[in-house]
């Protein structure tokens, strides 16, 4: 059976003719070839037509589809096996998978378990109870509890203001710092600067997000450049994961978020938050941005100033702890990188 198909693998995103053919094939199945894909498997039938395909983006299996006429031949198994062995070769062991909710049973048989779903996306992972055991490992708070989820790339006076306001409004504030390493400041540096920058607030618990909040798995479009974002691409799934797994386990009743004057994707996410989280009994509180020099403080403004080498202006937007880091050799390296990527 498998002998009737030719298997080709492609490193990097598909290009040219193959890309057009795979895009066409996927669109017939109601799927899109996502930007950011790094590896694609295509099975061709004897006529040289695309019979099945699947792709890998970091640790996420996606865009998996089989032609109608080849259903029941076990082609999904071939595609998924090829993607799994590629992921393992890159030493990625904790894997996620996007599919349509109706395909759940099939992927259960390949060792994937459901995390959450929206109307048209099902997110699965290859660890049984992976997300719930992660959430169970987080420190518990007490009393009325709220949460902030932030990238803090890097930690600014704006973040500090938001967190101080939020911490005043509840007994315990859970502060989640994105673990995904897709930002100018590496995850461990961001985490460290947040811990130092909030050390004066005793009721703030700082947590990593692992792959479970605003990650390639839950919210892939968050990390795309602005011009790559298509309409409607948003964080519904991410918010459902938060509402379904994080909030009940930690007894979070309130999510605080900074008003977003700049980034369209974050603005959309905030709007979706207002729609989705109340369904899980979570109140959403938007806090106005702190301003400095007539404009809102934001990490993107800090990065732009770093890139331009305007350190005096950066100084006015970050707390001492972040400033100290920026003066260190590691901090200067990052500023240089920001300048180069302009």
């Amino acid at each position: 059976m498998q002998g009737d198909f030719l298997q080709e693998t492609y490193e990097g995103g598909l290009k040219g003719v193959v890309r057009r053919r795979v895009e066409e094939f996927l669109s017939r199945q109601g799927l899109r070839y996502d930007k950011g894909i790094q590896y694609t498997v295509v099975l061709y039938d004897r006529q040289g037509e695309v019979a099945a395909t699947g792709s890998l983006e970091k640790n996420v299996l996606k865009c998996i589809a089989v032609d109608e006429k080849w259903r029941g031949e076990g082609l999904t198994a071939t595609v998924v096996s090829a993607l799994l062995s590629q992921a393992f070769q890159q030493n990625r062991q904790h894997l996620f998978l996007f599919t349509k909710p109706r395909n759940k049973q099939m992927f259960l048989e390949f060792g994937f378990y459901e995390i959450s779903r929206t109307e048209d996306i099902l997110l699965m992972e290859n660890k049984k109870d992976g997300i719930d055991s992660f959430v169970a490992s987080l420190r518990r708070g007490q009393g009325s509890q709220g949460a902030v989820v932030a990238n803090c790339n890097p930690f600014t006076l704006g973040h500090r203001y938001l967190i101080e306001q939020a911490a005043k409004a509840c007994d315990t504030l859970h502060l989640f710092v994105l673990s995904e390493d897709a930002s100018l400041f590496p995850a461990d540096v961001r985490m460290e600067l947040v811990k130092k920058g909030t050390a004066h607030l005793p009721n703030v618990l700082v947590h990593p997000t692992s792959d479970y909040l605003i990650s390639s798995a839950t919210f892939p479009t968050y990390f795309l450049k602005e011009e790559q974002i298509e309409k409607g691409a948003g964080g519904q799934l991410d918010l459902v994961v938060f509402g379904q797994h994080f909030a009940p386990a930690l007894d979070i009743r309130c999510r605080f978020v900074g008003q977003e004057p700049f980034s369209p994707i974050t603005a959309l996410y905030n709007k979706q938050m207002q729609e989705i989280l109340p369904r899980f009994g979570i109140q959403v509180v938007e806090i106005p941005r702190k301003e400095e020099g007539g404009a809102a403080i934001s990490a993107s403004r800090v990065r732009a100033l770093l890139a331009e080498g305007k350190m005096d202006e950066v100084r006015a937007l970050v707390p001492d702890t972040t400033w100290e880091f920026l003066q260190s050799p590691a901090g200067q390296d990052i500023a240089r990188k920001a300048g180069e990527s302009r």
Partner: protein
């Protein structure tokens, strides 16, 4: 033989078995199989035997079996072990 890194072998196609092996201090075998009811114990025995024959003292092995026969299971587990020791590739 020491398992130094996580590795996989096999596929989830019918009559094959997909094997993952990870470094660990003890031996643990986890089996998902379409024929678990009839052959689960037999499969586990084969896996443990292959580990022992190759002198593996610490590894967590998980199998997703789609009805593979014994020689296939042996071959896939052995390949996973070779890849996991990280010397001879493939």
């Amino acid at each position: 033989m020491e398992i130094k890194k996580a590795a996989v072998a096999g596929t989830m196609e019918s009559s094959d078995v997909y094997v993952e092996i990870k470094p660990a201090s003890d031996i643990a075998v986890q089996i998902e199989s379409v024929v678990a009811q009839q052959f689960g114990e037999e499969i586990e025995r084969v896996v443990r035997q292959v580990l022992e024959e190759n002198g593996v003292k610490g590894a967590h092995v998980s199998l997703n079996d789609k009805g593979a026969v014994e020689c296939v299971i042996r071959a896939r587990v052995e390949t996973a072990i070779r890849r996991g020791e990280g010397e001879r590739d493939q």
